[in-house]
Amino acid sequence: MIEVKNISKQFEDGYKVLDNINIVFETGKTNLVIGQSGSGKTVLLKLIVGLYEVDEGSINFDGRNFSTMNFKERKLVRQEFGMLFQGGALFDSLTVIENVMFPLNLFSKLSLSEKLERANFCLKRVDLINKNHFYPSEISGGMKKRVAIARAIALNPKYLFCDEPNSGLDPVTSILIDNLIKEITEEYKITTIVNTHDMNSVMEIGDKVIYIYKGQKWWEGNKTQILNTDNKELNDFVFASELTKIIKSKIN
């Protein structure tokens, strides 16, 4: 479980991007953070993983206060993290298999054959076979995301963070990635946080949905509740497209 308690973040130019956010991200569930571009959801995710520092408040990983930890203490907690970045963030100079083996090489005491076995298992888990010796530049966007997921789960993480996992992907591949994230979350009992503004993802995997609006937590619920909410700002966001408007009229 990840607890975000009263966190606020202000940038150097004085712009307060997040204001007094309180969220509990539950274990074994896919927790979706949704909101418009610029609402502060990426900053929230970067605060949680420690890429930014909080101005106020704290972030607790199963009771451990991450905000007050030093680099060495954070390092141990971070080895329980897996993260899927928007663009995949695969290392260009490494092949697919080397990318997946990267955290294993640094943080595990496995032998080379065991590391290879684990990396192959993770790649098989994301349905990516026969691409081991390709470089990231030689595979598609969807494959890059799958390699990034395989790398993220290589060390059996307790926490999985996904920043816009569907950006730049076609609807079919998006659903595949969404389902993969949900399956992995449930299979390994991981606390997963997904940042997205894709309503398809919300309806596919939204066990818990948090709506961030202008730097504040505006709404919290699940994928069923989101369709029936009377929260104006959330409705404007959820039913922004013609397609969702049609769906809503059919529901009503």
Binding site: L51, L76, R78, F81, M83, Q86, D92, N105, F107
Partner: protein
Amino acid sequence: MRKVFSRPEKARIFFKQIFHEIDSLGINSLGIIIIVSFFMGAVITLQTAYNITNPFIPLYLVGLGTRDSMILEFSSTIAGLILAGKVGSNIASEIGTMRVTEQIDALEVMGINSASYLISPKIIAAIFINPFLTLISIFVGVSGGYISGVLSGAVTSQNYIYGIQYAFEPYYITYTLIKTLFFAFIITSVSAYQGFYCSDGALEVGKSSTKAVVYSSLLILLFNVILTQLLLTHD
């Protein structure tokens, strides 16, 4: 800097990276160093020979002039400036691209000290390999001078060989190697800094690459003066 030189994650991986960087930053620069040094040596020899018009000045000074010019200035400073262009832009754009594509963030989230992981092997590799590049540059430059001087008839083989052995000051080699070590540190650290703190976007990667070359070249020129003053003005 403290972050850069903190203890690496795994010694085996760290040494592997150093060897990779020696190959990438050093061995891959060998070609350009050889070409530039050869032609620098050749031009110095021809210019010196054609400017000696006084019959009382012995022609073996052509060899001596080429040797000392290469040792004192060209093989360390000029080669340093060339490496600032080649290696500096390479480091800044490589690390800058890693920054904008979130690869550095990925390292940080994994709990890896990204500054140490990415930068220290480059600095150590350059400090190790650049003195060898300088020594090769001196040898190739002096050889280039010999070939151009003898083939053009500007100086005889005997005169040139006598000149390059005449009044040899071994300390000059120490001096040039000390300069090379400083320049290697400047090129790698300045370029890595520019790449590491690159802002978002492809344009910014280009800017950081340009800044890396300009700042490291200026610092090389400045330190060249300071080190020359400090190292060559002893009794």
